[in-house]
């Protein structure tokens, strides 16, 4: 198994190298000039050229790539053009809201999706099943920015229960910061619950027809125990996969939701960096996101072996 995991780790490194290369060249393929944006409307073309030189943007792209890759191998993601700080610091500063938003969102999504999927499977074909399936379809179809604006209107402006936006005032306690995440986490949780609901339903339908479930019922176990222990326990592998992949996407930054709710997270950082063509930040953030994604995928693979002893590498 350890040899297999080592092979997976080596594969991850190759994936990361390919990602790094693609990120660099795709970023440079997009038109736009960070120096001109940085200096503003009144700057002359000569000023812009001077700033481009300062950041090495006047060099051939292949030279820029070689220099960047060299620094990357040393663990240096570079210096942000606009934020005037190391990219790794800029990402670290924004990691907390993104991480906790992802965590809360996945908790909300799982809390909605798994019970709804189980109920839908257990009462298959009944009104409750149709209601859950319809609800999941609706949740999957709603754009998160629209739901975000509706939630802001209703819960923040009309009822005044939550703040409209932001991550708490200066010096806010951890609890206050989490409180600021509740509305965006609810939005993301609802939107992402759809996929979890449908996977849970499908997976549960498969296992509920198995012989061991019938045997469990014949033994006289309570229905709750049959469904949760023998049904859900065996249906977990695909559910873990979809929860894990959803978590990976959210840790990468819920770009639209972070923008609507004014959250200072990684998604917001990437959007700003793209609009400003802050190349080092775009490259650095995407590499970190890709790294997290790869790691979560790897963790999911390891978890398979824990929840299902039949899975071996």
């Amino acid at each position: 198994m350890f040899a297999a995991l080592a092979r997976r780790l080596a594969g991850m490194l190759i994936v990361m190298f390919i990602v790094a290369t693609m990120v660099f060249f795709l970023t440079r393929l997009a038109p736009g000039d960070p120096a001109a944006l940085m200096l503003g409307e009144q700057a002359s073309l000569a000023d812009v050229a001077e700033l481009r030189k300062t950041y090495g943007l006047d060099q051939p792209v292949i030279v820029q790539y070689a220099l960047w890759l060299k620094e990357l191998l040393r663990g240096n993601l570079g210096q942000s053009i606009f934020l005037q700080r190391p990219v790794i610091v800029a990402i670290a500063e924004r990691a907390e809201p993104t991480f906790f938003l992802a965590l809360l969102s996945i908790l909300v999504a799982t809390a909605i999706g798994v019970p709804a999927g189980i109920a839908s499977a257990v009462w298959r074909g009944r009104a409750s099943d149709q209601a859950v399936s319809g609800g999941a379809m609706l949740a999957a179809s709603i754009p998160s920015f629209w739901l975000g604006l509706i939630f802001i209107q209703f819960f923040a402006v009309r009822l005044g229960w939550f703040p409209v936006a932001g991550y708490g005032p200066p010096g806010a306690s951890f609890a206050e910061r989490l409180y600021h995440l509740m509305l965006p986490a609810s939005v993301l949780g609802i939107v992402n619950s759809a996929l979890i609901t449908r996977f849970t339903r499908a997976s549960m339908l498969d296992v509920l027809n198995e012989d061991y479930v019938r045997t469990a019922r014949a033994k006289g176990l309570s229905e709750a125990r049959v469904i949760l222990r023998h049904g859900l326990g065996n249906a977990l592998v695909p559910i873990i996969t979809v929860v894990g992949l959803t978590a990976a996407l959210l840790v990468g930054g819920a770009i639209v939701t972070e923008t609507v709710f004014g959250l200072p997270g990684i998604g917001n950082l990437v959007v700003s960096a793209v609009l400003r063509r802050d190349y080092p930040v775009i490259q650095g953030a995407l590499i970190v996101i890709a790294g997290i994604y790869v790691l979560i995928n790897f963790s999911i693979d390891v978890m398979y072996t824990l929840v299902d002893p039949r899975v071996k590498y």
């Binding site: 940085m38 009144q42 002359s44 073309l45 604006l149 923040a156 932001g166 609009l275």
Partner: protein, 524 residues
């Protein structure tokens, strides 16, 4: 061992511990909801929702508005503007004494002005700051081209000597954009790390994408004159200013209505009714705030021909373009004048060709120019929706006059890059804040800006204007420049537009200015 179960939750199979945990979680949420985020608002601070994160906090490192908007509370300049945009002294004792030939400026600096470090401001700080401004900023560089020397005259006076007149020198130093901020000489560095100025607020903290906090400077040395625009007495009535980046315009609107923000900058004009009807926030209009303009490529391609540019100008219906961009007439004004009636630079030169939508006249000019049907490439960005709305109307105006058109819609970063290449467009759309001095904007009046306008008529008119120091004579000379602009069409000033902001009903003392300022503002 059998778990003890709460009777009501028996059917769900939850234990007492699980029920207790749920109850605790619910109570925590209820407590937060009950507080309604009360702690999010300190009693004596202003939450100010800005359009984004400032590029930098060094006001000389960028000509973008946001860094200066924030840092003009920290750094003051020698001169500033009153509400009618006349230059007035700030750190200078009075307006400079200018020699008859316009080549020597004697400036006295106020005594007893405290820097945020506690030390008194002196002429060395001022000279070091002005030198940095001349080295770093586009406006400073334009002054530097005519500069002979800046010398101290005692501890609180200086003399600026020029080799050729720079009539806009005081205005250049007064402008709060890429501005001549006066800072403690020991803090000067690139990049700037310590922000030590003389303003009513001092820098406290910046958390990127979260806030920039300024706090009241208790040692502030205010002027004695009554407040007037940016000029006169400044007083930090609120202890703390929090500049919060909120890039989403709808979120700024809702945040202002919900009371989370005391001020929300640059809202879409569609939000006017919603803010007005909310009862919890009030709309604030600044008119004129800025002007959209269309820059023509005079260097290469179709628009290198002046007659075709004139046809382009004659074909346009600027009123319709502004209507499409801003909706209600309270948000825009179609006028050929580049400056308001109160300005010495007010002139109606160009009214014969402005806002005519004269398709027949344009066709005639096109025939004379032997227009071959090459499409007019209109470079524009949807990132500013009003730019794109104007582009759509413009394209229809041009088609009616016999032009072929091509809308090149790109993001702003791409537009900024492409406009530097004369092979890529005939016209691009941009906008500028309104400035009281002609030579400050648009940059096409200078040399080397995109569009590359350069002609004997331009050089003669601009040289005469720049050589004159007398404000009355400069007014007449500007009218000549405006005439040349309408004749050679290096750019078309579409009209004027307003900025819509929202303020809390409790906000008092706020005076709308092109860049919002929050000294003398309090919460009622």
């Amino acid at each position: 061992m059998t778990k003890s179960r709460h009777p009501q939750f028996l059917q769900l199979g939850l234990s007492r511990r699980e029920v207790g945990g749920l109850a605790l979680g619910a109570a925590t949420i209820a407590a937060f909801i009950g507080s309604k985020g009360a702690s999010a608002q300190a009693a004596n601070s202003l939450n100010l929702a800005m359009i984004g994160e400032p590029q930098t906090l060094d006001p000389m490192a960028s000509t973008a508005d946001l860094p200066s908007l924030i840092m003009m509370h920290v750094y003051e300049s020698l001169y500033t503007f009153d509400q009618k945009l006349n230059a007035r002294p700030m750190l200078a004792v009075e307006m400079p004494k200018v020699s008859a030939d316009g080549l020597t400026y004697d400036i006295d600096i106020r005594k007893g002005v405290k820097l945020h470090s506690g030390r008194d401001l002196d002429v060395e700080d001022v000279i070091a700051s002005l030198k940095r401004w001349i080295e770093m900023t586009p406006r400073g560089k334009s002054v530097g081209a005519a500069l002979v020397s800046i010398d101290a005259k005692g501890t609180h006076g200086l003399t600026i000597k020029l080799k050729s007149p720079v009539p806009a020198l005081v205005t250049h130093m007064a402008l709060p954009s890429g501005y001549a901020a006066i800072m403690a000489k020991e803090s000067i560095a690139t990049p700037l790390v310590n922000y030590i100025g003389t303003g009513p607020y001092r820098f406290k903290e910046r958390k990127p994408d979260q806030f920039v906090i300024l706090t009241r400077f208790d040692g502030y040395s205010a002027r004695s004159e009554a407040p007037d625009g940016y000029a006169g007495k400044r007083e930090a009535k609120v202890a703390e200013l929090r500049f919060i980046p909120v890039p989403n315009a709808n979120t700024r609107v809702e945040g202002a209505i919900a009371g989370q923000y005391h001020f929300a900058d640059q809202l879409p004009v569609e939000a006017f009714r919603r803010v007005t009807d909310s009862g919890s926030a009030k709309p604030i209009l600044m008119m004129p705030y800025g002007f959209p303009y269309l820059v023509t490529n005079t260097k290469q391609g179709l628009f290198a021909d002046k007659k075709i540019r004139q046809a382009f100008q004659l074909a346009l219906n600027e009123g319709e373009m502004l209507g499409a961009a801003f909706g209600d007439e309270k948000f825009y004004r179609a006028t050929p004048a580049h400056f308001p009636q109160s300005s010495p630079f007010h002139s109606m030169a160009g009214e014969k060709v402005y806002n005519k939508a004269d398709a027949a006249g344009a066709k005639k000019l096109l025939a004379e120019a032997k227009y071959d049907g090459t499409p007019v490439r209109i470079l524009n960005s949807k990132q500013y929706e009003f730019h794109h709305a104007m582009a759509l109307v413009m394209a229809e105006n041009l088609k009616a006059a016999g032009f072929k058109t091509q809308l090149d819609v790109v993001d702003w970063a791409t537009l900024v890059q492409r406009r530097a290449d004369p092979a890529l467009y005939e016209v691009y759309i941009t906008h500028s804040s309104f400035y009281p001095e002609p030579m400050l904007s648009p940059p096409q009046l200078g040399a080397g800006a995109p569009g590359w306008w350069d002609s004997p008529a331009k050089n003669a008119a601009i040289s005469a204007f720049n050589a004159e120091s007398d404000p009355v004579k400069r007014g007449a000379l500007w009218a000549k420049v405006q005439e040349v602009v309408y004749d050679e069409v290096p750019y078309i000033r579409v009209g004027e537009f307003a900025a819509l902001c929202a303020g809390s009903m409790r906000l008092t003392g706020y005076v709308p200015m092109p860049m919002p300022a929050f000294w003398n503002v309090s919460l009622g």
